[in-house]
């Protein structure tokens, strides 16, 4: 199932400048794994050495922060966009 992932400016060097890409996956974890397969280098930017999302990386499914959902196990339904957004804005 194809999911649209919105790519932040800081990661667009890995997507050839594209702000949105389409990858497969039925959970956030699978989507991000597919993203890394399609655009090598993504995983080491998004995850720390222990395999957890870096603390300044926020991921949203259909505009909801996955930390309010089920983290990397959060299901991604047909048509729900996944957004990767740096946490260092605001205030």
């Amino acid at each position: 199932m194809a999911t649209t992932v919105r790519i932040p400016t800081a990661l667009r060097t890995l997507t050839g400048g594209a702000s949105e890409v389409s990858v497969d996956g039925s959970t956030v974890g699978e989507v991000l794994k597919s993203l890394d397969a399609a655009h090598p280098g993504m995983a080491e930017r998004l995850f720390d050495g222990a395999g957890a999302l870096r603390r300044f990386v926020n991921v949203f499914v259909a505009d909801e922060d996955i930390r309010f959902l089920d983290g990397l196990s959060t299901p991604v339904a047909e048509g729900q966009p996944v957004s990767i957004i740096p946490a260092v804005a605001g205030g």
Binding site: R6, P8, T9, A10, L11, T13, S19, R45, R54, R55, F56, V57, N58, F60, D63, D65, R67, F68, S83, I85, P86, A87, V88, A89, G90, G91
Partner: protein, 411 residues
């Protein structure tokens, strides 16, 4: 000119050129302005500062924007007032209030916006923008007008009416977003990658945030070039608290004060939005985002960008934190107004309520020189008080009506 040499990632230390960037491309950490402190040390003196303007720009050597092209409505150099009556009520000794309600748009946000938009003009931006809980909206709209810039200000749709009016009056675009601040912030983070605008608290954030250091510079100067022992600071994103701490350190780094600072830094949050205080109080290293539900809307950031750094500053300095209820916030607003004649918005109520709690817990002590930061004016959040504050009596326009309503026992 400025003394900023580069931007540096606070997480991994990677260096970047001085540009409108805010995120480390490698680890997503926040970028921060790095200075040539040796050069500043040979430029700055107490005398030079004293001869400067009565605004944040007297500390231009320690700011990342050029004073010569500053967007200036007169932000900063607000009164630091001795608060003897409040100290008496709380059982404290040397207590001071930094009254930042007296800025051009009545909150500390004028400090950061003045710096952020001055830098935006240097970079050639024509449009100013921000994600705001209200005070920032007022300030960006006003300063953008002052600078001749267009503006797009994004706010949660449920904001206090005073903050909406005090933004829209300046004539820029005000976008009320159906959601909370964190929704607004996420939208702006995405829009900042699309439009060539100066989002002061997104792509200009490394410069903008530095403006809060002036709260530390002024405090030390107004105390006669000495550090306080303890400061109590409200926390939304945690940026202001972090930068106040950085400001004290810089004063020693550049030789304006001989001793290194030994300032305990305490943070104040509302119980209905206390992700940083919750982590502190539970001894956790992880900040869990929350959905805010508090009358302190200007502090209602459920996903605080500088939360981790604020946590570090407070822990390393030996300070404390508290998460106070809406009732304590209202009591705090009234206590400050009724002891010191200073009317603060709900965020200041959070600060005073936290000061009271920490004093009762013994974390803030009577032998300390304490400074509480009151960062926004009470007229901005009248709704919070209208249920509990009003006329003492409503009477007919006759002497009889007055004397039957009041028994006056003084001359």
């Amino acid at each position: 000119m400025t003394f900023v040499s580069q931007l540096k990632c606070r997480e991994c230390g990677r260096a970047y050129e001085v540009a409108p960037l805010h995120v480390c491309e490698w680890c997503f950490g926040p970028l921060e302005a790095a200075y040539d402190y040796d050069a500043i040390r040979s430029s700055v003196t107490r005398e030079k500062i004293a001869q400067g303007p009565s605004s944040i720009w007297r500390y231009a050597d320690l700011l990342p924007a050029d004073r010569g092209s500053a967007v200036d409505l007169g932000a900063g150099f607000t009164p630091l007032v001795r608060a003897e009556r409040l100290a008496g009520a709380l059982g404290l000794g040397e207590l001071w209030i930094k009254n930042d309600t007296l800025n051009p748009t009545n909150s500390f946000k004028d400090r950061v916006v003045a710096v952020g938009l001055s830098k935006a003009l240097e970079f050639g931006f024509k449009t100013a923008a921000c994600a705001s809980t209200g005070n920032l909206a007022n300030s960006v709209a006003a300063h953008a007008t002052r600078a001749g810039m267009k503006s797009y200000v994004f706010i949660p749709a449920n904001l206090e009416s005073g903050k909406v009016v005090a933004t829209a009056v300046y004539g820029g675009n005000v976008v009320a977003v159906d959601g909370n601040y964190d929704d607004v912030n996420r939208l702006c983070a995405e829009l900042a990658g699309t439009y060539p605008w100066a989002f002061v608290n997104v792509n200009l954030r490394p410069y903008y945030a530095e403006g809060s250091k002036t709260l530390a510079f002024e405090t030390a100067e107004q105390l006669g070039w000495r550090f306080p022992d303890h400061v109590v600071v409200p926390m939304a994103s945690g940026s202001q608290l972090t930068k106040i701490s950085k400001g004290f350190e810089e004063l020693a780094n550049v030789g304006l004060i001989d001793e290194p600072p030994d300032v305990r830094v305490s943070g104040a949050q509302a119980l209905g939005c206390s992700p940083i205080a919750s982590a502190f109080l539970s001894g956790s290293d992880t900040i869990k985002p929350v959905k805010p539900d508090t009358i302190a809307k200007s502090l209602a950031i459920g996903n605080p960008a500088d939360g981790y750094f604020a946590l570090d500053v407070v822990r390393n300095s030996g300070g404390g934190m508290a998460a106070v209820t809406d009732e304590e916030i209202i009591d705090g607003i009234k206590l400050l107004a009724r002891t010191e004649g200073i009317f603060t918005e709900t965020a200041g109520g959070v600060t005073i309520a936290t000061l009271k709690r920490l004093t009762e817990e013994g974390a803030v002590r009577p032998d300390e020189c304490v400074v509480a930061y009151i960062t926004g004016h009470g007229l901005k959040t009248l709704e919070a008080l209208t249920a509990t504050v009003g006329p003492t009596a409503t009477i007919a326009p006759t002497i009889d009506a007055f004397t039957s309503a009041f028994s006056i026992d003084e001359e």
